[in-house]
Symmetry: C2
Subunit: 387 residues, 2 copies
Amino acid sequence: MNYYMPVGKGTDLRFEILTEDPKSKARLGKLITDHGEINTPVFMPVGTAGTVKAIAQPQLEELGAELILGNTYHLYLRPGHQLIHELGGLHRFISWPHPILTDSGGFQVFSHSDLRKISEEGVVFRSHLDGSSHLLTPEKAIEIQRALGADIIMVLDECLPYPCDFLIARDSMEQTLRWAGRCKDAFEKSAGCWHPHQQWLFGIGQGGISPELRRECMLRLIDIEFSGYAIGGLSVGEPKPLLYELAGESARWMPTAQPRYLMGVGTPLDIVECVAMGVDMFDCVMPTRNARNGWLFTHSGHLVIKHARYARDERPIDESCLCPVCRLYSRAYLRHLFQSKEILSAMLNTCHNLYFYLDTLRQIRDAIASHRYLDFLAEFKRKQEVG
Amino acid sequence: MNYYMPVGKGTDLRFEILTEDPKSKARLGKLITDHGEINTPVFMPVGTAGTVKAIAQPQLEELGAELILGNTYHLYLRPGHQLIHELGGLHRFISWPHPILTDSGGFQVFSHSDLRKISEEGVVFRSHLDGSSHLLTPEKAIEIQRALGADIIMVLDECLPYPCDFLIARDSMEQTLRWAGRCKDAFEKSAGCWHPHQQWLFGIGQGGISPELRRECMLRLIDIEFSGYAIGGLSVGEPKPLLYELAGESARWMPTAQPRYLMGVGTPLDIVECVAMGVDMFDCVMPTRNARNGWLFTHSGHLVIKHARYARDERPIDESCLCPVCRLYSRAYLRHLFQSKEILSAMLNTCHNLYFYLDTLRQIRDAIASHRYLDFLAEFKRKQEVG
């Protein structure tokens, strides 16, 4: 079975900065991929196994999602990147004609798999599905992501737990940098071999909780030259002030002309805060995972729908929300669905939470466009903290 | 807490027969309720606990559902009929402004509850949720259904297993008839006390597998006078020829001017067959439950999506289907979602299967309207049996 195919050449991928906020580092931009334009700052819903859980693709489109994330680890194990490539790549397989970003699989290997062993070559892990053993190397991570065909793909990095010793973080950073170089080589060698559209490779900065290591890692990544840069290894349990400090410190050294991606972050307020530091891209399972657990975001904080106080509450989740769920359903009904473990509970909660996130990003972009980002941030923070 | 409210008077509920097939007993009709018109023959998706599992109300509307079924047993136990009544009734609680039918709860008591004891008064059962003990009497079944406020409500009947002895079936039929009379009394006494819209009470014919008892039961129900009549106790494991014989024998004695409802039936072919006997209304969990188990209906029989042969199959479920799922997704993707136990699997499979049922009913109505029902039946049967 040969799943390589001759490919043509797509249009160039571009990142344009449209305006910058005068009082913060927030910037409004546009990422132009072969599968369409992405307005930044952007939030990407997480589509772990080729589906953003509990929502169909047309509805995701209606909510305004412009970019979704696919997890290489999950897709590699099931249904397999070869199968997806044979069927025309991930966009076609999941019927999502818009941009997709895939992670390298590293984060899931470090967080999900039963057993893992890191060496210079890569990381051996056992599948959480059937216990089978697999070796993920930088070259393999690129091969899988080439086969999947996402518009933006990521280097393999080593993810550290929090807290982590400086010396361990430094060694790990060196490993991450060597792997980044190998990913870049593998990426360049495989250019034009897989899909008729272009793919972009982003580097990932690590460095634990040391601002010095974060800075060094980012500068050395820039020497390797990537199309964009990500901040990895945050939102792993560290306190908020530290998350903001390290994100800011990393962002400070990232090239201004290229997209900056803060991986796995975070709450709506985290996103609003980190946009002020110049971050352009975010992903997080929080809106979708929390939805399935009955945790709903509102303009004045969150609500936990299972609470008895909502049993007779005829109001929508959020009275100022214009999402399809808030237009139609009461808290009382949503509580009933949650208590009854109905699939519709996950569906409606997911729709509302994703709308909340995507709408927050629309507000973020409006605030940057009108050069009033810090006012927006202060107001958003006040409202979220009241709730 | 008082959940009675003063009510006005709605428009009359009517059943109009528009045309009859010249070569069979199939008829095209219209049920006119305070919540809208229903074209018959009609299939009602089952909304057990106030939701048709895995599909949202606006999508159900788009698929063409005109009437849905709510299960009194489930809604009584959770969230409770009082709560639903306080919140304006079932239509409002679940945000479904179209017609609803509720069953009496009897079938679920006989099939789901851990422990039950039947007496002249009613049936004592234990909740499958928390083991609490409840007494369901004919009067209680009416009270609950009045509180829920469905457009069409059902008498409490005793449901027998298959097979069942003639003498037991006869005694049970007598019980069912006495309960039917008590339901009618309770229904009349509570008229105008609950909701501003009208409700219709249907009787349910039983009689096990005896055509004589089926006939006697139906004739004695007609003496009590209901707004419509149902055939109960079928599709409980009996062979198809017996199902068709008993449904036909029951339908033969039902008043021609009133709607005829065959409860809990069945496959698409069962419905097509029973329409020819003059049945107007159907409900069944099959499209929704089978969907969640990966069993998909097509114009040439069914397919079981988990099979390995679909792993690389880029075709839609059914190449002649115009449903939202067949327009967008491949069998390969649907198989992946099923194997991965993704919520989207249940969502998409449910959407397709319900579309298939509701579209079959559209074809049934077209065939009756053009007086070619038996040709349609023969063609439908041929295609289903090929599959």
